[in-house]
Symmetry: C2
Subunit: 187 residues, 2 copies
Amino acid sequence: MSTYAAIELSLPEWIDAEIDFTVRYADDDARMALAIGLARRNVELGTGGPFGAAILRSDGELIAVGVNRVVPQQCSVAHAEMLAFMSAQKRIGRFRLNEDGARYLLATSAQPCAMCYGASFWAGIDELVIGARAEDVMQLSEFDEGPLPADWIGELEKRGIAVRRDVQRQPARAIFELYRSLAGTSY
Amino acid sequence: MSTYAAIELSLPEWIDAEIDFTVRYADDDARMALAIGLARRNVELGTGGPFGAAILRSDGELIAVGVNRVVPQQCSVAHAEMLAFMSAQKRIGRFRLNEDGARYLLATSAQPCAMCYGASFWAGIDELVIGARAEDVMQLSEFDEGPLPADWIGELEKRGIAVRRDVQRQPARAIFELYRSLAGTSY
């Protein structure tokens, strides 16, 4: 093991107590409620930034979740979507989730930033379900989303990833108001 | 610790034996030779894909390195640049490297893919030094670089990240020929 080699990222302990992996999250509203709930609890419990994400199979089985852990883990990569991708791949044992022929979905409380957007192409997902828009994030917080291709949705769809956005946009936006009211440290 | 929470990523063991962290990598050629050497050894030793990266301070001090570990670690996030960012942040203890006022540089053997490109905005680097171009990667291998903003260099420069590319482009390209000749598994 190299001196600088071992990188360990973890989700907060409350995930185990609060997230029910036996429930089926049958539709986009249920999946987005899960993602938004993760973001809210992450803010309320002070375990990271106001972002939550989940990976599910199309039948509603929950595979993995993620929350933003940038500040507590001092790692700029530790966005909610990235932790969800990595956790799901670890659980499934594949670097492309959908190579088993099932359809996989990422539900994320806010539009992926430039990094998470790029990561979405390699993770093996078929559907991307988004709550708040990038402009909501940047209007209500100091978080920067970074530059995307002009037709960022088209680029996903060209590669077989369906995009549904504005799912529960208002509750998703409200997370950033909560975050601001609690005067959290942005990353 | 959540059931699906602990994600561990590591670099191969040969890094410790082969990479000298006491050397000063004084110019772009030395830094790119380091990144290309990491990519080459990763291919030769079968420890991942044909990509290498390093984070240095502008005085040439080596902070961290990365190689592609997607297949061995079954993780689509484990690109060379991502491991270099995470290792450097762990060593320095900050999620934005350059908050100490020093200038930090990423040297990468090939143009960052869409994910690593986005990650470059958040990692706290000031300079991005690139070997092979995306078209070299895609012409010589089956690796996909993903979609970038039309003016991807301009977007970096707008945010204070200087870009120098085609540094040792031919030796950097040659890594993909080596990789193909060894019939490696692409990520």
